[in-house]
């Protein structure tokens, strides 16, 4: 079974950056192949990883209800399995699955149940699965995974950001999800956590596993559309992410 690492956090905190850098870490440490899952409705992990954009799972799920999309003689399990496998973007040591936006109103219990079955089967092919989540994590338990080995909650280096991270951590407790270990990661930190921030972090009861410093190259790469995946290993952001990887003993 894949070791499941999930990254959560409020929008704009840098989840995708951390995801890309940690995937890089896994590949450099020869912990591969990795199954990356982009669960953010505003999917852009593929860009950070320098991959082609794949199909989206929500499209597949939506199509299961289209009278004309699935022939009568083909059952939805076959349909979902086929399109799920097709939706993967394939890279070196790494495959990426994009979930896409919400399906809209209506009941998707049945296709989601099948999806969850095939996701389990698919992730068994990889020693590591890394998920870049949307802010809330409801979709996770519903169809992707029922347990998380490592949950990393990303926050910017502000009091408000850390409070928000604390709320997300509390929220995850209420989900039907087994989380083994949760940690906090500070992003775009200028010079670590000052006393005020430290106080807020303690309130969240989350252990701060590391900070990613502000790195102008991250901004440059984003601005010019270059994959973050290609950041030099010596760049401060990459180094910090690798340090987090070592700390976590992934």
């Amino acid at each position: 079974m894949a070791k499941h690492i999930s990254i959560a956090g409020k929008g704009g905190t840098g989840k995708t950056t951390l995801a890309a850098l940690l995937i890089r870490y896994l590949l450099e440490k020869n912990k591969k192949p990795v199954l990356a899952v982009d669960a953010d409705p505003n999917a852009n992990l593929y860009e950070a990883l320098g991959l082609e954009r794949g199909g989206s799972v929500s499209e597949i799920i939506k199509n299961t209800k289209d009278i004309n999309a699935v022939p009568q003689g083909m059952t939805k399990d076959v349909y979902i399995d086929y399109h799920l496998q097709r939706a993967l973007s394939e890279g070196k040591g790494l495959d990426l699955l994009t979930l896409g936006g919400p399906e809209g109103a209506g009941c998707y219990c049945f296709p989601n149940q099948l999806l969850s079955h095939f996701m389990g089967q698919l992730s068994d092919n990889y020693p590591y699965m890394l998920i870049d989540n949307e802010a809330g994590m409801e979709h996770l338990s519903r169809r992707i995974a029922q347990s998380v080995d490592l949950l990393l909650i990303v926050s910017d280096s502000t009091v408000r950001g850390v409070r928000s991270a604390g709320r997300i951590a509390a929220l995850t407790q209420s989900l039907d999800l087994k989380i083994k270990n949760s940690y906090l990661v500070l992003n775009r930190s200028k010079n670590g956590a000052d006393a005020k921030l430290q106080e807020e972090i303690e309130k969240t009861k989350l252990h701060l596993i590391g900070s990613i410093p502000e790195d102008p190259r991250v901004f440059d790469y984003d601005a010019s559309g270059r994959p973050l995946f290609e950041l030099p290993l010596v760049s401060p952001a990459t180094k910090a992410a690798f340090n987090i990887g070592d700390q976590l003993k992934i």
Binding site: P33, T64, K65, I67, P71, Q72, G73, M74, T75, K76, D77, V78, D81, Y82, Q85, R86, E90, K92, G93, D95, A105, G106, C107, Y108, C109, F110, P111, Q113, L114, H117, Q121, L122, D124, N125
Partner: protein, 734 residues
């Protein structure tokens, strides 16, 4: 039964009986009635007589009552003016023949104890083994029970030349059959032909030379009779069970090579009692209709190169394949394996190239069992990483095969191919997708092995529904394209058949309790003509989901006793619903909106509601946000009727269900439908119009009001009157 055959069999039986009676009289005179007699080293006396009649023959004197029984069994010879019936008297004559011959052989052994070797192998000067003793019976007969030997071929006479004899023996050995040999044709014996060609005969090689005369047939049938008593636990004298045991468990047949004499016919009639058919190389009359044997009783004039195949087919002998011959590990553990792009050697389908799978039924003579052919290059003839087109065509023939089985067998391709390590299979039909890994390739896996897998596994798991199977694997684009075109027509026919499935003819239905997490008393029931109300699944989906997870939320439910056909209510369903809703719901109807309609979870695609003033029903889909003539919007409706309740006058359903024949059939189906949103009309119009046509009102959709006409009953009623909507003239709803 053929009059010629019956006449001959009865004539033969009379000859054999008279000869035996004469020999018995002579032996009585010579040895006296107290003289012990029997086959050596057996506890079953003369086994056919003991098994069928329950009479233990221990002395010459004991034979008298059996001779009397024979006399009663023997019918008078057939005269010109007698036309019917033929079968029963001929079968009786056959039994009398076997009794007489057993006694004749016993007397022969009494007079000449060294006539047979009485062991498992021939000696240098005697090839005839005689009846098997009980040690041999136990050692060899057990193979009939555990399946390592499916049965035996009783060969009478001789082949026209030695090569044919050797060939036939080899083919029978390949099918793991015992070959029991007796009788002669033009002075030659089949067993001698084998010996002359250095084929080793005897029990160890399963080529058993019983005796030189036709009466040796009783050693074969006696062996079968003893097997029923020794392994089947049948009591001596329980003739019916002995014969049935053999018909069902011992795959034996008589192969008559050479002139079929009256005495051969008499013995053949005896064998038919056991369900063992006769296959002849000469042009004797055939006895085709089935009755005693599984299929035909006598077929004739069969060419030598087909005779073993035909015999196996007529007897219903199944091929058993125990191992899957592939150079990689094989098992369910490898299902779900994803071959990653960087690990693959070759890929077929999945958008990379064309790929298609088709299981198709053929005539028996069009299929050569076990034939596997790659038409086009295999993966060792192309560059690594190549995207190859692939057409997998499984051709199946069999006595019990039906075209309904084609899609069932076709679906198995997915599982069976997936079991191979390093081979990925996804999809089915014309969206099949294969990936073969570099690893599997290096171990020797080729496209051809896909055929090996399908041949072995389909025989193993589905051998009961077909007899022969061959696999053709096409890897040239023009061939694959042609197959796809042909296959699409077949898929369309199959889909139409699924759509044509009726609730009346289907059992079980399937439950779905997935939504109980938020509607605890809700139990969906899915039948072919009432798809799930969420719109996501039909009966076939539920069936597949059940197979994936037998403990899951989709369970088969037997309908049980029919309560009402019109309303769609069954005792078995009600019992299940009551139990699965924890007693909250006593039961419901499938096709009514008024009388205890099916429960609704709240996540249905549409909600239908009764409009009393219009004497009709409206329905609204989830996407429609506006007001409806029942006074509620969709969200209010779903909230009111959802939560697992059964609310008379309201029912949740899928879009697809509207156009199914059972849509509120109790109240008049779509002829009651007086209002639905324009967008819904548009979405389902093709199917709806087809259904309306069936009901004789092809323009029904135009007579149904929508939000442009109005959103209250008062607003839409004049429109319905103007359009002469059929609901207005139907029986009042209340």
């Amino acid at each position: 039964m053929s009059k010629i055959i019956c006449s001959a069999a009865i004539r033969g039986a009379h000859n054999i009986f008279e000869r035996t009676e004469k020999k018995w009289q002579e032996a009585m005179d010579k040895y006296g009635a107290k003289q012990e007699v029997g086959f050596p080293n057996t506890g079953y006396y003369l086994p056919i007589i003991y098994g069928i009649l329950g009479i233990p023959i221990e002395t010459l004197g004991d034979m008298e009552k059996v001779l009397n029984k024979c006399r009663l069994l023997l019918p008078p010879p057939v005269h010109e003016e007698v036309h019917t019936p033929y079968l029963a008297p001929a079968l009786d004559a056959g039994m009398a023949t076997l009794f007489a011959e057993e006694m004749e052989e016993a007397i022969r052994i009494l007079e000449n104890p060294n006539f047979y070797t009485q062991q498992e192998d021939p000696t240098s000067d005697n090839i005839w083994l005689g009846p098997a003793n009980d040690v041999t019976l136990r050692r060899r007969g057990i193979e009939f029970v555990d399946g390592s030997a499916p049965g035996f071929a009783a060969i009478l006479g001789a082949a026209p030349d030695d090569d044919v004899a050797v060939q036939i023996a080899r083919e029978l050995q390949e099918r793991s059959l015992y070959v029991f040999m007796g009788a002669q044709h033009e002075g030659r014996h089949f067993a001698q032909q084998l010996v002359d060609n250095n084929v080793q005969i005897g029990w160890p090689t399963r080529l058993v030379s019983f005796g030189p005369d036709i009466s040796a047939a009783v050693f074969a049938l006696g062996f079968a009779t003893r097997a029923a008593m020794a392994f089947g636990g049948v009591q001596p004298g329980d003739s019916r069970k002995i014969l049935e045991y053999n018909k069902e468990r011992v795959f034996a047949f008589v192969m008559a090579l050479g002139k079929v004499t009256d005495e051969w016919y008499a013995n053949a009639a005896g064998a038919i009692n056991y369900g063992f058919p006769v296959i002849a190389d000469t042009p004797i009359p055939e006895v085709l209709p089935t009755g005693i044997c599984t299929y035909e009783h006598v077929i004739s004039n069969i060419p030598y190169d087909e005779i073993v195949d035909r015999a196996a087919e007529v007897r219903g002998l199944k091929v058993t394949v125990s191992e899957v011959p592939v150079p990689v590990s094989y098992g369910p553990a490898f299902e779900g394996e994803r071959i990653r792009k960087e690990d693959l050697h070759a890929e077929c389908g999945g958008g990379a190239s064309l790929a298609v799978e088709l299981a198709t039924m053929k005539e028996l003579d069009e299929v050569e069992d076990g034939h596997i052919e790659v038409i086009g290059p295999d993966i060792d003839e192309v560059e690594p990483g190549t995207k190859l087109p692939l057409g997998v065509v499984v051709e199946i023939a069999g006595r019990e095969m039906q075209d309904d089985f084609e899609p069932i067998l076709e679906r198995q391709i997915h599982h069976f191919v997936n079991y191979a390590e390093g081979v990925m299979h996804i999809g089915q039909r014309d969206i099949a997708w294969y990936r073969i890994s570099q690893n599997a390739y290096e171990k020797g896996f080729r496209i051809k092995n896909i055929g090996d897998i399908l041949y072995a596994k389909l025989h193993q798991d589905f051998g009961t529904i077909f007899d022969k199977l061959q696999v053709k694997l096409y890897t040239r684009e023009e061939n694959v394209r042609e197959i796809i075109e042909n296959a699409r027509d077949i898929y369309a026919t199959r889909d139409a058949r699924i759509e044509g499935m009726t609730d009346e003819d289907t059992d079980p239905f399937y439950s779905c309790t997935l939504c109980q997490s938020f509607a605890p008393s809700h139990v969906c029931m899915v039948s072919p003509e009432r798809t799930g109300l969420c719109g996501a699944y039909n009966w076939l989906d539920c069936k597949a989901a059940y197979q994936i997870n037998p403990q899951g939320p989709n369970q088969p439910v037997n309908k049980g006793k029919l309560i009402s056909e019109k309303y769609g209510e069954w005792e078995g369903i009600n019992e299940f619903v009551k139990q699965a809703s924890r007693g909250k719901i006593e039961g419901y109807t499938f096709y009514s909106i008024l009388d205890r309609p099916m429960t609704t979870c709240g996540c249905c695609e549409c909600v239908a509601a009764v409009l009393p003033m219009c004497n009709g029903v409206m329905t609204v889909n989830r996407e429609h946000e506006g007001m409806t003539p029942c006074g509620m919007k969709f969200t209010t409706l779903a909230g009111t009727v959802g939560g697992g309740q059964s609310t008379p006058g309201f029912v949740g359903h899928s879009k697809y269900y509207i156009c199914q024949r059972k849509f509120i059939a109790a109240e008049g189906s779509i002829l009651r439908l007086v209002w639905m949103p324009k967008s819904l009309k548009e979405e389902i119009k093709d199917r709806f119009n087809a259904r309306a046509e069936e009901l004789g009102i092809p323009d029904l959709l135009d007579r149904i009001a929508d939000e442009d006409v109005g959103v209250t009953e008062e607003e839409i009623l004049p429109f319905l009157e103007e359009k002469d909507h059929p609901a207005l003239k139907m029986d009042p709803l209340f």
